[in-house]
Structure formats: C-alpha cells, structure tokens
Symmetry: C2
DNA sequence: TGCCGTATCGGGAATAATTATCAATAAAAT
DNA sequence: ATTTTATTGATAATTATTCCCGATACGGCA
C-alpha cells in the first residue's frame, strides 16, 4: 500500500473527527485542504482502509455509510433527538458480545451488529436544563398561588 | 386506507415468504400474479404498511432494505455462509432489550437495532454433515494405518 | 345503480449514494 | 534514470429508492 498525500489526509482528518462522517462529509472537509481531491478517491480509500482494518465502516440504519477512524472494538448509538452517531465506551460493553452470543448457542454466533438508540450527551444536557427550568416555573407558580390566596383571605 | 388488489397481493405474498425479501424480490414474485404491477407501487405500499405497523421494515447491514410480514417483536440474524436473513425466536430474547437498555442508564435507551451473525439452520445442517464425513475419513485412515503397521511387523 | 371526490396506480423521470472505468500521474523498485 | 506498478481525478454507469402526474379504481351517497 503506497503512501499518498490523499490517503494520509483522509486518514488524519477522519481521526480528528468524532462525528463518524459519511464520505461526502469528509469530502467537504478535505476539499479546501487537498484542492482537487475527488469523491471517488475518498470512497476508494475509505473502503481499502476499512478492509485492512485501519478504520471501521459502519453499516447502520439510514441510507449512507459512515466511517470511524477508531478501529478498536466499541459500540455506537444514534441520538433520537439530533440523529448524530456517538461512541459508547462503557466498561461492561465488552461483555455484551459474549452475553449475546451465549444466549443462542445453536446459532454459532460470530458477532452482532448493534446500534443503540438514546440521547447523546449534548441533548441529554439540554433536556435536563429544560426540566430544571420547568421545575422552577412550577415553584414560581406555587408562590404566586400562595400570594393570591392570601389576597383573597385579606380581601385585598 | 382503501383496499386494493395490489396491496392485498403484496401483503399476502410477503406473509407467505419467510425470506425477508427486498422490494425487487417481491416485484419478481408478484409480477406473474398481478400482471402490470409496478415497482413504485410495491415500494409505496411497503412503506405505508410499515408506517402503520402492519409489517416491518428492516434496516440492516447491506444496502437494500428488507421487509418482514411478521410485525411481532423478534430479532433477526444473517447467515455468515449464505447471507440469508432468518428469524430468531428464542424465549429469552424478549429480555435482551431490557438488558441492553439497563447496561447504560445514562443513555436513556429507547431501543436497539440488532442483527446477529451466525449460521442459519440449513447451513448448520450442512456443516455438521461435513464434520461427520471428516470424522469417518479419519476413522478409515486410522484403520489403514493399523493394517500397514501390522504389515511392517510381519514383514509382509 | 350511477355519480363524485379521493386514494391509489403505472410508468417514467429524478435523485441519492456508491462503484466502475480509464487515461494521466505519482510512487516505488530496479 | 528508467521502468513498473499503484493511485489519482474526472466522468460515466449502476443501484436503490423516491417523486411526479395523468389515468384508473375505490368507497360513499343519491
């Protein structure tokens, strides 16, 4: 495998991103840096590197394939709010494979493709802030309620 | 939702098949029976029925989407030999969802897309027959070995 | 039963994502 | 330095799916 400007740019850019980009997202990022790189070159190199285990090709739900510069074993989730893909790096996740394989011994399980659905850290943050705000409003309402009740009582 | 010849043919054919066909596989099967049905009609109806929960759309690895006439909750596996999709109907599988969700409480997990990889019943059968045959051949070889050894001993 | 408004159809064009082709160029080997 | 081979960019082709639209079928109602 020869070393080329294009291939090295693709790999280093992919490794900088934590967004699991599609081929055309990478293209958009790379074009200013490697002027006349072509989309075909990006597809070709991503495919090659995935086949050699340098990177990972993610075949997930949705129509476009995504790529991950981190080839080490880990799982992914898709955020149900913003639709972004993010890594799951929980200590017990390496047990999941074994557990799932053991559930069906007769299958001779040789792995699972698994995509979780949940909230990414950012959207989780947002949701919590929203809940805090609501809680405050309720508190305010309750205070106002007390005031107006006392107004009734005192006739003011 | 009106009832039409095409929609009923699509649904009944899909329910007869246990192969989780793609839209064009269904098209091939339906064309002789519903002469000038169009591929667009098949896509449109599969999409509609999946949205209404009558059938299931499987967004798995591989580029084409597949459809399942059985909308009840169950998991799927892809055979690593013949690449076919088949159902997994194990009693403990209904616990898998809960288990996976409970592994990452902070994710707020709302489901997982899961595709197993293993051997389908047919390929499993084949593999076992192959192994039995090999075992027999080894047995034969051992017999021959014994014969030739005794030949050496007796000088014949 | 016939009429009408709406849902659905067929067929073809359009789109999206990816893969293939190939002459030109760059990298490695000699 | 020259030859060989791998890789590139540009474009065409392919694959899977969706969209469009005039024609047709369906279901409700007189």
């Amino acid at each position: 495998m020869n070393k080329t400007v294009q291939r090295e740019a693709i790999l280093s850019e992919l490794r900088k991103m934590n967004t699991h980009p599609t081929a055309d997202e990478l293209y958009a990022v790379l074009r200013p840096k490697v002027p006349q790189i072509s989309l075909g070159t990006i597809y070709r190199n991503l495919e090659d590197m995935a086949n050699r285990g340098v990177i990972r090709k993610l075949e997930l739900t949705g129509r476009q394939k995504r790529f991950d510069g981190d080839a080490s074993p880990h799982y992914h989730a898709r955020c149900r709010e913003c639709d972004r893909i993010f890594n799951l790096a929980a200590p017990r996740l390496d047990e999941v494979d074994k557990l799932l394989a053991s559930l069906m011994p007769e299958l001779g399980c040789s792995g699972v493709y698994l995509e979780w659905s949940g909230l990414c850290p950012a959207c989780r943050e947002k949701e919590q802030q929203l809940q805090n705000q609501k809680a405050k409003e309720v508190e305010q309402d309750e205070k106002r309620e007390v005031v107006s009740l006392s107004a009734v009582r005192t006739g003011r």
